[in-house]
Amino acid sequence: MTVSLTCHGLSRSFGALRAVDGVDLDVAPGGRHALIGPNGAGKSTLMHLVTGALRASDGSVRLGEEDITGMSVVQRARLGISQTMQQASLFPTMTVSDNVLLAVQRRHGRVGPWPRRQAAARRRVDTLLERIGLAGRGDTIEARLSHGERKQLELAVALACEPRLLLLDEPAAGMSPAETARLAEVIEELPAEVTVLFVEHDLDLVFRLATTVTVLHLGRVLLTGSPAAVRASAAVREAYLGTGRDEPLFAQRTEA
Amino acid sequence: MSGMVITRRRLLGMFGATAALSACGSSLGGGSSSDGGEQGAVKVGLVIPQAGVYAPLGVDMKRAWDLWLDRHGGKVGGFTVTTVVGDEGETPQTGVAAVQRLLQSDDCDVLVGIVSSATALGVRDLVTESKKLLLIANAGANDITGTAISPYLWRTSFTNGQVAAAMGRHLAEQGGTDGVFVIAPDYAAGAEASAGFQDAFTSGGGTIAGAVKPPFGTTQDYQPFLSQIRSSGAKATFCFFAGAEAVAFVKQYRQFGLADSVPLYGSGFLTEGGVLSAQGAAAVGIQTSLHYTSELDNEHNKEFVAAYQKAHDAVPTVYSVQTWDAAGVLDRALRSAKATDGDALSTALGKLGPIDDSPRGEWSFDGQTPKQKFYIREVEQKGDGFVNSVIAETDAVGQDG
């Protein structure tokens, strides 16, 4: 049940720019693996290569034993890869419940063109919303949610797919401290057999959740190790500060 | 529920019967019918295209209808006429809806008009089931008074085959133009005209050099077909075109230098009415067959043309005359039927005999469509305008030419 994610020599170019350049990445089954690095390091591109939104120029991606390099987004999703996106974008004219229901019915129901009562699916939706902190917001139209709420909903939708591999792209960006704390709890409460790979700028969160951290720099892997090893690494400090960037090391970014 | 419907219908029926009785009564009271005799009223639905490509024909038809009423004191066959105009538009979608409205909502007694054959065929069942008379003043599909015949649809115009066959017979009789190329657009009327011409021409001993069907409605440029005519070595060309296509074809026929080497013949719509002024000098010399031209030298036509010009400052066209004659035969039918229902009028039309006061010359019904003479006309310049002068006329022929 529990799967690993293995990237080998993974590359992606945009014209002359090699956004991801020969990355080897091993995410252990049931691991909590964080991906960090300065802006432009290739974190999001790497995530897209794993979800299938972008196709690799070179290298391979494996989920457990299965080579998924040539698979479409849809096929990968059906293998159990689920994701939240950096810019929260769901289904703006649907209710919060229906947003989650879309994921639940894909995972559990048969999506036929005739009505079903879906009582079980609705119960699942309510349970998830409660777990994520959106209880009572089920009948709200998605477009009316606050930014933080929308990020929560993203996570709820991703979890509703009952993924084997969960990819989180900056899950805490734009969240209030209280929301971030709730998010951390939710992730910590995830079943151990779910493998998690996440990109995050909030290092407190990273060090709280991650079992392994990979640092990307200029499209390459700079370092993979335990949180403590990464914190102590001189090379990481160099990568963040030595390239002339003036942002403080590992500071929490606020971003719209 | 249905009880209520029946009650309604009964009520309507009673109204209708009352109206019919009163009409009858006044007719009896007035003795033998005369021009001044008040026989009642008739509501006529005039179905003419007011929008779309056929709209110019609608104008000519409306003018003729108005002129007829104007010259007969607003009465047809002794009945006071109320005219309701319905816009036929360009397609049966609008045409059928207009007829439906005139029959069912405006309660018209008689319908006159209809330019498009598709619309005429499309309203056949509607008209037949409501047992009202429809006098078709243009639509020329053979089937309207052929395989799709209904006792309630009569026609004062022509059939597509009949017009073209007149030219076929004429050319065959003339001889010397063996090897004629036939071009007509790829739709029902074009096919009927093409077949009508070819049958008449070949059975008269002529030979066909080739035939082609340009796409209907979308052909702006006839060069590919003109090239074909040239390379076929034809001695003459027969064509069937109307409206914008007639203008484009005639102008391009001259632009590509064919007009001087391969004489052009056609069904009369090629050079009739508004299209002739658009063609201008390019049309000079073209010979066409038709059952009318404003140049006809007969008493009724001269009077008609003068009155028409006075009233509308325009020269009448074949479309005007067809509508004028529709009014004329309706006048006779109402006079003898003394009723406005379709059955009585249809019976009356069947007994009508020759129409001797038409601007087109004498004609009569053969079946439910005219048996009439055809004129071979040639386009000439007259003053600063152009006219179709008569150079020959044929014997009277019916539906199939």
Binding site: - | P56, Q220, D221
Partner: protein
Amino acid sequence: MAWLDANLVSVLNGVAIGCLLFILAIGLSLVFGMMDVLNLAHGAVFLVGAYAGWVVGGTDPSWGTFLLALAVALGIGLLVGGGMSLLTEPLRDRSHLDQALLTLGIALIVAELLSMAFGNDVQAADAPPGLDGTVSLFGNAYPTYRLALIGVGAVFAVGLWLLMSRTMIGSVIRATVADRDMVSAIGIAQHRVKLAVFGAGSALAAAAGVLGVPIYGARPGLDSTVLILALVVVVIGGLGSVRGALVGALVIGQIESLGRAVLADAASFLLFGALALVLVLRPRGLFAGAVR
């Protein structure tokens, strides 16, 4: 030999018709490619130009009146196009369908206004002096005006190519086709680009109307016939590129000319048969490259 002669004329004629179609379709293609607006009023603008050519130029135009008509049509086209750009501006954030339907409404209104102003009769006019005769080609008479159209089309094509490849305006246009948001991000006001392209595209359509009068005339219903042709051209050629519009126009010119001459029996099916073929094989047109 006669067969060959006849078909050489058809090929040449296809080029002439293609040139006219190119001038007509380029505006539609650019507005479509740059602004994502399907302008269903493009045919109506052509008809406005045709009536301008007939009214200003007269049925037997001199060079003076013909050129004046061309100038008038360019002016009116610019105004109409600019107007449509402004009218679609409030719909900027709405779906493609809204904008297409708005232009359809405008097309119906414009066509109806034209028929009210100029009647429903078919109008035709001659070519200006010197071009209204015929020349002998391969032993066959051929209208001089159509040969001249090839020249005009070539001038337009070269001019537009130079504009697109050698000028600032051209690079903005190409960049807009490729990535509209990028262009606005570097500080070029999108609504200005749109106004300019809409105006210029419509002006060209109106000019095509004047140039087309000696062949097509001016009449109700011409707008929709021409719109369909222009749409087929841009779909076949691919959207938003001058090269695509040119190739599409020349291909359609040949289909309408040589194709109809050679395959006369299938003439009615040729145009849409070719379209269907392209749609199945290359749904984004023959020259859909960087275009979204």
